[in-house]
Amino acid sequence: MTGTELVVDGVTLTAGAHRLVEDVSLTARSGEVIGLVGPNGSGKSSLLRAVYRVLRPATGQIGVDGTDAWSLPARRLARTVAAVVQESGGEFDLTVLEVVAMGRTPHKRLLDGDTPEDADLIRSALAAVDGTDLAHRPFDRLSGGERQRVLIARALAQQPSLLVLDEPTNHLDIRHQLEVLGTLRRLSATVLVALHDLNLAAYYCDRLYVLCDGKVTASGPPADILTPRLLAEVYDVTSEVTIHPRTGAPQVTFLPQTPHLTTPVEADPSSS
């Protein structure tokens, strides 16, 4: 299985009179991990929703391996594109295994049962997110981080060649953030992922697109585009960017803006 090529071409998304995303173009080549970063409300989620076929572009095209995603039936597209979305599900007692098994649906005809291959795929998807122990737990009773991992496993069970994730590391502790992103990195599928954490994005993504006010402000390899100037412009923060000696990836340090905190504070002996 190789990765799908995604070409977002001049896409504008609207909600009523409001423009969520304006004339955005983005390319993800086969097997690339593409990060989407930007402040809250910059249009990251909207753009992803257009790619996974929930929000129809007002203008522009979403090309998946050369075909317009919106011209395909939902089921056909779901065999190629899987997504981890932010919306949470209902409150009906399904086990983790049953939730992950949902990912097999687009590959099934209406009356097909679950085959041993399905069971294998479901198990290995769950193992990939370190969730084997969760298999028989009710999904409703998992913690936020456990749920997120299960939803990623569900997307993996879909065997996508393009995986779209909206802030998959939300609610995860550091270890699981690294594990999840490491898993995405190892996939042969193309990955488009919205991330909040710039350092994780810089380390795990081949290229980044920076969105601000619904437009692409910068794009390219993390080391090329993550500069104090860009971060000041997009996030309105002061920062320092260095290349980390061990990882070789750009490392962003945010500097507090309140002046008295930037000077070292005398240690207070009574507090330690």
Partner: protein
């Protein structure tokens, strides 16, 4: 306490929780279905045996097998008893089973489609819509569709009410429980008011009284000639819902997630709404509105077999059939010789169940908010 002791405690707590949380497997499902099927046979026998004239179960089976042409005893019963069992009680028991099964599967599917655990045809005003449709046909004597006019009108009324409730309850792509129940109650109240107005102002006094009794929900007055339509509706409904069980499961993940797994949610929901209105309409035309069966059964069944619709639907159908047969037996017996409308009894059990469910959901949400 040392760190390692704390760890083992935590681990033990996790393990205990995992064991508590362990959910039923396929074996539980098979056992549940078998038990319910056996219970259905027992219930049907009881339904045929119990009443103003008590017929011993052995004789019930003698009469039934005799009628099916497979005698296992020599006939030693009176013709009157045979009439009571075969022509009075049998259609009634069958209608109870059909209506109970139908309402339970409609409730199950509605809860998934609207993504709300409190969804149910009666509470959402769908049954009121069906009743109004049926009453309009009776009062104005409409016969455009021959003998099935009543059912056609009930279907149209059910669909209209469902769409109205859905449209008014939905804001920003989401339906909250509060809004759903409120618009259901308001629309049911409006429809019932129109229905009462029609009945009170009609010239057909006697008919109006009969209809008024019918709006309380009951299984009396059914005969073999009118049984085929509800049965066909039930088989059609269960058949299509079972085929769509995977897609119903997808909706449990949320609308966007269901779309990303290949379901055209808007189209699917529209089709299912039509199907569910059809089944509800035909059932209501036959029995009057019977509440809370569609609410209680799916939830009880999910506790036993889990949430997968491939298991919930058949189990809920069998459970609903058993439940309504017994509710009807109770309706005939508790105030004998007077007969209580079965809808009154189901509301009597269903109301408290609804309140419990509401409290449970509120607790769950608080738990999750705190976590």
């Amino acid at each position: 306490m040392t760190a390692s002791a704390a760890d083992t405690n935590a681990e033990r707590a996790v393990r205990r929780r995992q064991q508590d949380d362990r959910q039923p497997g396929p074996a539980t499902f098979a056992v549940t279905l078998t038990v319910l099927a056996a219970l259905l046979v027992v219930s049907a026998t009881a339904g045929l045996a119990i009443g103003s004239v008590q017929v011993p179960p052995g004789q019930v089976w003698g009469i039934v097998t005799h009628a099916l042409g497979a005698d296992w005893t020599t006939p030693n019963w009176s013709a009157a008893r045979e009439t009571i069992v075969l022509d009075v009680r049998a259609p009634r028991v069958l209608l109870g089973a059909v209506a109970g099964a139908g309402l339970a599967v409609v409730g199950t599917a509605l809860q998934a489609l609207i993504r709300n655990p409190l969804a149910e045809p009666y509470l959402l005003g769908v049954s009121s819509g069906a009743s109004l449709g049926a009453v309009v046909v009776i009062v104005f004597g409409v016969t455009w569709f021959g003998p099935t006019s009543l059912s056609v009108a009930a279907f149209a009324g059910a669909l209209g009410a469902l769409l109205l409730v859905y449209a008014t309850a939905r804001t920003g792509g989401r339906i909250t429980s509060a809004r759903l129940i409120l618009s259901g109650v308001a629309i049911a109240a409006m429809l019932t008011a129109v229905l009462d107005l029609l009945l009170l102002t009609t010239d057909r006094g006697n008919e109006a009284r009969a209809v008024l009794a019918w709006t309380l929900g009951g299984l009396g007055g059914v005969n073999w000639d009118t049984l085929w339509l509800p049965s066909a509706a039930l088989l059609l409904g269960i058949g299509i819902l079972m085929v769509q069980a995977r897609n119903l499961n997808l909706l449990l993940a949320g609308e966007e997630a269901a779309t990303t797994m290949g379901l055209d949610v808007a189209r699917f929901r529209a089709r299912m709404f039509v199907l569910l209105s059809l089944v509800t309409g035909i059932l209501v035309a036959a029995t009057g509105p019977i509440g809370f069966v569609g609410l209680m059964l799916p939830h009880i069944v999910r506790l036993v077999v889990g949430g997968d619709h491939r298991r919930v639907l058949p189990t809920a159908a069998l459970g609903g059939a058993v439940f309504l047969i017994w509710a009807d037996i109770a309706a005939r017996v508790v105030a004998a010789p007077m007969e209580i409308p079965v809808g009154v009894l189901t509301a009597l059990c269903g109301g408290p169940f609804f309140l419990w469910l509401m409290r449970r959901d509120a607790r769950r949400n608080t738990d999750r908010g705190g976590a």
